[in-house]
């Protein structure tokens, strides 16, 4: 192969992928990205750095390379410039495409098969989230580790050189830092050797032992059996979920094409493409060639850990798995090309059916995600600018809609630049509840506090539906209905706007809470119904529990409530029934008292309890 042809061979799939996912490289941050970008703020010393890098986070995940180091490192270098993040994602994907081409070519002894495998995978619609949303980078990096480890396994099988086997082990072990899906590698390595290189099978068994240890350790940190979306279902739903993901893999997620192809046609394409791939695999299996079966095994193995999540169908879950059918398709394409014209025509037709459905679907999904991220950028950049212009004032966001809230507000991006932001009263009614992810009410400034803040010029109001963000403070102030009580039903203790509700012993509001010494009082609206409770959310420091549990005593309207014991450090949420005497009152006094406080070194304050929020609900 001449040099130019060789270069084209390795780069063409990446260029095709880049063309399909061009919006991905221009995308900005959104949703979970801000939680990861905010990790840097938690780093104060070596110990907190290790904690930020390696402590389990959402759903007990520990992904130091693909999430912690990726976001903290790039944020330190580039701030809120998303382009370097996006370039990194695409470079990883390009490396993955080169590895797919290389592996498929080695396995099939056909360069054409490698080329087509990379093209088919690079245009797959299940890649959209991974290539457009930085938080899904863990998938791309996981694929990289899996493919690289498998590449070294093949090299070891080809050459017998131990260094390749050692490299496989190193990459495999490092892969656990990218994504938990790395546990499936022993199934890939074992499956391949069992089917196609049996004398090496036993050497893959220790890999399985490592995955087993990882699974046990992960279960100890994050016990399975979650609720809601993350609940696991081991029943016939597994097959239904598998069928759904398969149909997405060979066509497009949700079977939706951007040009409105009837679903029946897409289903027909699923049937035809599935029949072709499975038929090809069966035909080869009958002849004793089990390689196509390995490609299908790849799909099953890479998807298996995700199949029990019946209620959490996610477009990018088949990302790694889709490599299997892509290699199978590449092999089938190359095989057809060696046969009569009719086979060639059939192969071209099938490839065209796949590409005509998948590539536009991939591009449309990527554009949708890109547009959403750009909307979030306008909001976040606007808030950054508003904070520059009004550094001493709290920002109130008006007209935040459902989509903007869940992707641009929920993860509090404004904390990255120290702004205090709330939503205007009533905004929560425009946002569809989604308890799995958060409670919009926590982001709303109560009308009672808003009235007082507007009166004192302590807030600046921006219209989030305007482009760019528009300062509407004067119009909002003029239109606000000030016929509200003095005390709200919910108090965010971290807001200085609520200072007037707190008694004299409280310390100043901090980023997430407000500390009190042993005792503190505050005013809150009384319950409107006898069934309502007082919900207290806060934090108890480990230092305060060094000498044993502390008791929290609460009074409401002068009536002592049942004391509770706090015996574990960290955040807590407690609910207290309220006395009948408090019902219907415009405001009641709440007294909080902890049995012990401590003085942190170099601080000088007596710290008993940090209150996050308090609510009558």
């Amino acid at each position: 192969m001449k040099r130019a042809a060789r270069a084209a061979y390795w780069t063409a799939p990446s260029l095709v992928c880049l063309a399909v996912y061009w919006y991905g490289i221009q995308a900005w941050f959104q949703a979970d990205d801000f939680a990861w970008l905010g990790l840097s703020a938690e780093v104060r010393d070596w110990s907190s750095f290790l904690d930020a890098m390696f402590s389990p986070r959402a759903q007990g995940t520990v992904r130091p390379w693909s999430e912690r180091a990726f976001f903290m490192g790039f944020y330190a270098l580039f701030g809120l410039d998303a382009l370097p993040f996006r370039i990194t994602v695409f470079l990883t994907q390009f490396a993955n495409l080169v590895l797919v081409a290389s592996i498929a070519a080695r396995l099939t002894a056909s360069r054409a098969a490698g080329f087509w495998a990379a093209v088919f995978w690079g245009t797959n619609a299940c890649l959209a989230h991974v290539l457009t949303w930085s938080s899904a980078y863990n998938q791309a990096l996981c694929a990289f580790f899996l493919l690289l480890a498998f590449h070294f396994l093949l090299r070891f099988i080809e050459t017998g050189r131990r260094r390749y086997e050692a490299a496989q082990w190193v990459v495999f072990l490092l892969g656990f830092g990218a994504q938990e899906l790395n546990v499936v590698y022993p199934a890939l390595a074992g499956g391949y050797t069992l089917l196609a290189a049996r004398k090496h099978f036993r050497r893959t068994l220790p890999l399985a032992a490592v995955s087993l240890i990882y699974v046990v350790a992960h279960m100890l940190v994050a016990p399975p059996g979650g609720t809601g979306l993350y609940a696991m279902h081991f029943d016939l739903a597994l097959l239904r979920t598998l069928a759904t993901y398969w149909s997405w893999t060979v066509t497009v997620p949700w079977l939706l094409t951007p040009y409105g192809l009837p679903t029946g046609w897409v289903v027909a394409a699923v049937v035809v493409l599935s029949a072709a791939l499975v038929g090809f695999a069966v035909r080869h299996a009958v002849r004793g060639d089990r390689l196509p079966a390995f490609f299908l095994l790849w799909y099953l193995a890479a998807l298996a850990p995700l199949l029990p999540l019946r209620d959490h169908l996610t477009e990018y879950y088949p990302y790694v798995a889709a490599i299997g059918p892509a290699m199978l398709g590449g092999m089938a394409m190359a095989a057809a090309w060696r046969r009569r014209a009719a086979w060639k025509a059939a192969a071209v037709l099938l490839a065209a059916v796949y590409l005509v459905i998948a590539a536009p679907g991939a591009r449309a999904a990527s554009k949708w995600l890109h547009d959403r991220s750009r909307r979030v950028e306008r909001l976040v950049r606007g808030l950054q600018r508003a904070h520059e212009l009004h550094p001493d004032r709290t920002i109130l966001l008006h007209n935040v809609d459902d989509a903007l809230f869940w992707t641009g507000v929920l993860d509090r991006p404004y904390r990255l630049f120290g702004a205090r932001v709330f939503l205007t009263p009533g905004t929560e009614q425009k946002i569809a509840p989604n308890p799995e992810f958060g409670d919009p009410r926590e982001f709303v400034l109560p009308a009672e506090v808003t009235a007082r803040a507007l009166d004192r010029d302590a807030v600046v109001v921006y219209d989030a539906s305007a482009r760019p963000l528009r300062n509407i403070t004067r119009a909002y102030t003029a239109a606000f209905d000030y016929r509200v009580a003095d005390a709200p039903r919910r108090i965010d203790a971290s807001s200085p706007l609520a200072d007037y509700l707190f008694g004299p012993t409280w310390y100043s509001a901090e980023a997430n809470s407000r500390w009190m010494p042993e005792k503190g009082t505050l005013r809150i609206a009384g319950p409107t119904a006898p069934s309502q409770q007082l919900v207290v959310r806060g934090l108890c420091a480990a230092e305060n529990l060094a000498a044993g549990p502390v008791e929290l005593r609460v009074t409401a309207a002068g009536v002592p409530l049942k004391p509770v014991r706090i015996d574990s450090a960290g955040t807590f949420e407690m609910a207290f029934p309220l006395p009948e005497a408090a019902a219907g009152k415009e405001a009641i006094e709440i007294g909080l008292e902890v049995s012990r406080a401590y003085t942190p070194p170099g601080d000088g304050r007596r710290l008993g309890l940090a209150l996050g929020s308090i609510e009558v609900r």
Binding site: L91, D457, R470, R474
Partner: protein
Amino acid sequence: MRKTLPAILLAASLLWGPAACKRRDRASVQYTEEEAPQLATIVHAADPRTAAQFVSGFHDIEQNAWRWTAGRFAVVLRVPRGAAEKGAVLRLKFSVPEPVVEKLKTVTLRASIEGTGFEPESFTQAGEFTYEREIPAALMTGESTRVEFSLDRALPAGEIDRRELGVIVSSVGFETP
């Protein structure tokens, strides 16, 4: 594969390099549309955004916190919402420094709005004080109003400073009752 890695690294450096150079303060791009400036109901001496409301008799900001006044000084304040019905409370937070008391023994402060004077108050000791007067609703009808302050005596220019010195103001404003 041996040639691929250096190629990827080269591509990365070519791609990341411009990205790093492009890093700039994007907040300077127009990401907000601001209202025309509005007068404040409370002005802090240290806040440069409300400097225009200290219309006469105020010297420059000192120590990023306060301003000396002359013997007569004035501010323009926005009338707070509801003040046209309920009236408002005028609050001047200031301090009388030791040298002023030493030289003048006593200073008397008086405020007036649109020619209506309010009860004066005398200060014979150094320290921080609040001059607070209720303003009737009848004087709070417009969007903004000018509040005049006067001291019965001040340190003449050239005595301990080249400027005439009265008191040190930290903030002045209206609040609704």
